[in-house]
Assembly symmetry: C2
Homo-oligomer: 330 residues x 2
């Protein structure tokens, strides 16, 4: 039910996804009328592989987290997370209110042993055509060094699982690469990460996210959120001014026509929809958050991400690593 | 002497600047040999309007701040800031080591009454073709709410002075626009800004920097630095992949030729060199930091910024506002 477009996007995305992944079953959770209307319009009939699970309420995109958590026990979001808890579903995907999804997931699923706070991780494409996973992106605004260490472990386990890298490179976002840089929390986090047994590359800076220096960049949720939104803002500005410049005169419009295949390839390469689907890590279960503005294609990518995490046992990997960490550190 | 290119860029930039601004005198501070060699190569002769001031040492770009401050009393940076202190110069412009420049400026010039810490402010172009001033950009990694308030006042006074806006709009960088968002420091800073008499717009998010929602965006130096470097990184990635796509085949290279005027206009619009020159605010004097990688044109823009700040009495404005603030708040 969530996101800017609700079932009008999520339902067709689910059908397209099932056409690609015939062995994955889906449960559409929400108001049956709305869901069945969308299914009928697409000529689809619910069945064993594609089930509708009724939920009478919807968490609004701007709803306070406390209301969503306490007052809406039959929201589509809550029921979907409950399914992931009971084992009726292997993962939950939502395009809804991020804060509510995190709070409900944490309340229902609980965190893994040794994880104080779940984190949100997303994928960023790099200049080297590799991917950087950045976390946290807004779940945690006041982080201790221990939290940052846990983010490093969770990020590394995610990359190890879904990218099949044995020893993912972990960097710590700072305002300079030297050890003396940064605030006390970050300096202490660097010490913890260095002693963690992870493949720790030390401090990295904001531009390293796009240089592909590391597989994982760790930061607190305040910084991560500000950075990601600023990047979204500058990309929007770039594409709108490129469009404006090409639209200026009949001649520039003609040259846009000539450059169209290139501009399309460029847009494809920069297409953030390909990377849609942020992972809520550190929970006893798999929850993926789609961007609220996701279209069918983008929402489909979030579904793919959830399946990847199920198949590669991301929570189990994090749990094993946390237990192993406790065994070697006092 | 500073920056990636030293006098080879700063000296020609100074001459070009003086051709545009014939009533502004310049003192080139550094190793006389190096400076005079560059001047001679360009057929320029030092005189009253263009003086060379000898300084025997140079602060290296990666030199620890403590060494630069304590052990290099005759560095070009130190002598230049001393000139701004004595009144022999109205402002100091450097492309050198940012940390050293901030430490030396603070030590020599001191902060204005009521300002605990100087901040670094830079200009960002927006989608609306306006400018957003963002501060702090890395001088202060652990900020209290009071520091953020002071950044807001300094930023507003800078914009009032150089952009001639009576009531600049000030926003506070946060991870959501609602009052309940963010950490305790940011929440308290919002209260202080709201009570400050400034034209405070409340919380803004990372993308607002590029939307032109505000004239001034306030954040702590850690966040500001991370955001700015990430934005630099994504812009680099964008332009390198646009170049790659156009270079792919003979046909795409042909279409690049057709699109050349548009691509040039676009590059001009996005040209960060136009906005080169970050202001060190809150000092009893004017200090402008040029990007280390600045070319002649960019370094000239930093010189222009310094002159603008002198002509519009930026420190005096901040000082008056701080005194006024003390009169109204207990």
């Amino acid at each position: 039910m969530g996101g800017d477009h609700g079932p009008h996007v999520t339902v067709p995305a689910a059908l397209e996804f099932q056409a690609r992944q015939p062995d994955v079953g889906l449960v559409l959770v929400g108001q049956p009328d709305a869901l069945e209307r969308e299914l009928a319009a697409l000529g689809a009939v619910p069945g064993e592989r594609l089930r509708v699970q009724a939920a009478s309420e919807v968490v609004a995109m701007d709803e306070p987290v406390a209301t969503a958590l306490r007052a809406k026990k039959d929201s589509s979001m809550r029921v979907a997370v409950d399914l992931a808890k009971s084992g009726a579903a292997h993962a939950c995907v939502s395009a809804g209110n991020t804060g509510a999804l995190m709070a409900i997931s944490r309340f229902v699923l609980k965190t893994l042993p040794g994880i104080d706070r779940p984190a949100i991780a997303t994928v960023i494409p790099t200049m080297k055509r590799t991917k950087t996973y950045v976390l946290d992106l807004g779940a945690n605004v006041d982080c201790t060094a221990e939290h940052l260490l846990q983010f490093g472990i969770m990020g590394a386990m995610l990359v190890a699982a879904v990218e099949h890298k044995e020893r993912p490179i972990v960097g710590l976002l700072n305002i300079g690469v030297e050890d003396i840089k940064g605030n006390e929390t970050v300096k202490r986090a660097a010490e913890l990460l260095r002693a963690s047994g992870l493949n720790f590359a030390g401090n990295v800076e904001g531009d390293d996210i796009f240089k592909g220096t590391c597989d994982v960049v760790v930061c607190d949720g305040f910084v991560g959120n500000a950075v990601l939104k600023a990047v979204e803002g500058v990309l929007q500005m770039m594409s709108s001014s490129l469009r404006e410049e090409f639209a200026r005169t009949p001649l520039t419009r003609l040259s846009a026509l000539a450059a169209l295949p290139v501009l399309r390839a460029f847009r494809g390469r920069m297409d953030h929809r390909r990377y849609n689907g942020a992972s809520l890590l550190g929970l006893r279960g798999i929850v993926v958050k789609s961007h609220g503005s996701a279209d069918r294609y983008a929402f489909g990518q979030a579904l793919e991400r959830a399946v990847e995490e199920v198949r590669n046992e991301v929570p189990q990997r994090i749990e094993r690593r946390m237990l192993q960490g406790q065994a070697v550190t006092p």
